[in-house]
């Protein structure tokens, strides 16, 4: 018990004194997950909107695929990216394994389906009523799409934040493809695993607190956005 309390004290010390290693780990986590989510949004938002707006042959199959991908286990993604990037893999020549870029690729694969899926659900759920109102007021096809996207902006933002929450807290994928290299590919979650194993509880707790704090901030943002985006008819 004493160890845990001591750990907490040390953790606060490490955080408040802006320990360079803690800072480095936190910033790397933010950079990797942030970049993955930005790239995931660039791909996921338009794909989700198109899937929500238009019907085409085989759409159900694509929708099922996206939904399955939303719950993809991070370790499996890590394994897949590892095989792609390893020396003997198809992208081995790029020499990306055990780099932050490899971590970004893995998290991008995790984030994109979430953003796509949430956008798709949002667009298709408000599609009908908003769509009809816009059409009845004389909107052209282009104006209609723009209106629907504007109406779903809150859900899209929520999707982005959910995806960020998922990737910043995952450990399996980045552990496999990043290798948890000190000062280079060590992120919050992988560092917690390592420090716990080494018995460096203070550092592990400090990193854990930072992670929880980040999750808390993300949740606050999500709740705020959802409140702001509430609709009543």
């Amino acid at each position: 018990m004493n160890e845990i309390i001591e750990g907490f004290f040390k953790a606060f010390q490490l955080i408040l004194s802006l320990d360079p290693e803690v800072l480095n780990i936190t910033l790397l986590s933010l950079r990797v997950s942030g970049t993955a989510v930005i790239l995931g949004s660039i791909v996921g938002l338009p794909s989700g909107a198109l899937l929500g707006l238009y019907d085409f042959k085989g759409k159900q199959l694509v929708v099922n695929f996206v939904n399955t991908m939303m719950g993809l286990p991070p370790v499996v993604v890590g394994l897949f990216v590892f095989l792609l990037l390893s020396r003997s893999g198809p992208l081995g020549l790029l020499d990306l394994l055990y780099t932050p870029l490899a971590m970004i690729i893995a998290q991008f694969i995790l984030a994109t389906p979430i953003i796509t899926g949430i956008t798709m659900a949002a667009v298709s759920s408000i599609d009908r009523t908003v769509r009809e109102t816009a059409i009845s007021l004389g909107a052209t096809e282009g104006q209609l799409i723009w209106t629907v996207l504007k109406e779903t902006r809150m859900s899209m933002l929520s999707g982005i934040i959910v995806a960020f929450g998922r990737v910043i807290s995952e450990v399996g994928a980045i552990m496999i493809v990043g290798g948890n290299i000190r000062w280079y590919t060590r992120a919050l979650t992988t560092a917690i695993v390592l420090e716990t194993r080494r018995g460096e509880f203070a550092l592990a707790i400090a990193l854990g607190l930072i992670l929880i704090l980040l999750a808390f901030i993300i949740n606050m943002m999500l709740t705020y956005l959802q409140r702001k985006g509430e609709r009543i008819y």
Partner: protein, 243 residues
């Protein structure tokens, strides 16, 4: 002069005819009301007139143009000459002002004109003070008045109203009735209103059509329909025996 002519109109959803052999004419500047019990096909008729849906058979002629032969682009331009207010209006998740301005914005109207027109129509429906409010925080009555303002601001030639006061309190009902009556009288806007409230039809309409299970039973002036209905089903509806 006729602005709207419907000839032998049929609409079928999955194997059931919702509208059968509808024939009617609406004159320019007329206040035309379609009454009938719930499920009679009133909403379907209004949706077809507003070109939101296509008929199974028959013709809808708007200002001399056969709408059934129009391309999608031509339909947009015809639709822009009309406006519809639904029973449960959907307001966009933005301010009252932006909601009302929508129709003008998509028509490329300049900002200054939009401002003037939106504020004027908001005054008309008694919501000028709420212009900056988030539309999603309004009460049902206020939301319906915003939807009416959004339809009126584009100065439609034909205003379509689908049970605009159903589920509203007497105060909001009175405001909406006053505004639509006013628009019909002063701007000479043609109004086609669907309602199951026959007293409302009697108060407002120049002519009334009684729609019953997809068929028009009779059309006439309010005094004709209410004092000497030709069909026993019309009489039964007026007496409140069917609703």
């Amino acid at each position: 002069m006729t602005i709207l002519e419907i000839q032998h109109l049929y609409k079928k959803y999955s194997d059931k005819y919702v509208l059968e052999d509808i024939n009617l004419e609406v004159g320019r500047g007329e206040f035309f009301t379609v009454i009938g019990p719930n499920g009679a096909g009133k909403t379907t008729l209004l949706r077809l007139i507003d070109l939101l849906d296509s008929p199974t058979d028959g013709k809808i002629i708007f200002d001399g143009i056969d709408t059934t032969k129009c391309s999608e682009t031509e339909k947009i331009y015809l639709r822009r000459r009309m406006a519809i207010v639904f029973q449960n209006p959907v307001l966009f998740n933005t301010t009252v002002f932006e909601n009302v301005a929508y129709g003008l914005k998509i028509r490329g109207v300049d900002k200054l004109t939009i401002r003037k027109k939106v504020m004027k129509v908001l005054e008309l429906v008694g919501l000028a003070d709420l212009w900056n409010r988030r539309a999603t925080t309004l009460s049902g009555g206020e939301a319906q008045r915003v939807a009416l303002a959004r339809a009126l601001v584009i100065e439609p030639e034909v205003l379509l109203l689908d049970e605009p006061t159903a589920n509203l309190d007497p105060r909001n009902t009175a405001i909406i009735e006053k505004v639509i009556l006013n628009v019909n009288k002063e701007r000479k806007t043609t109004v086609v209103m669907a309602t199951h409230n026959m007293f409302q039809a009697k108060r407002l309409a120049h002519r009334i059509a009684f729609l019953f299970y997809g068929k028009i039973i009779e059309i006439g002036k309010p005094e004709e329909i209410f004092t000497s209905p030709k069909d026993p089903r019309t009489e039964a509806f007026i007496k409140g025996e069917i609703y």
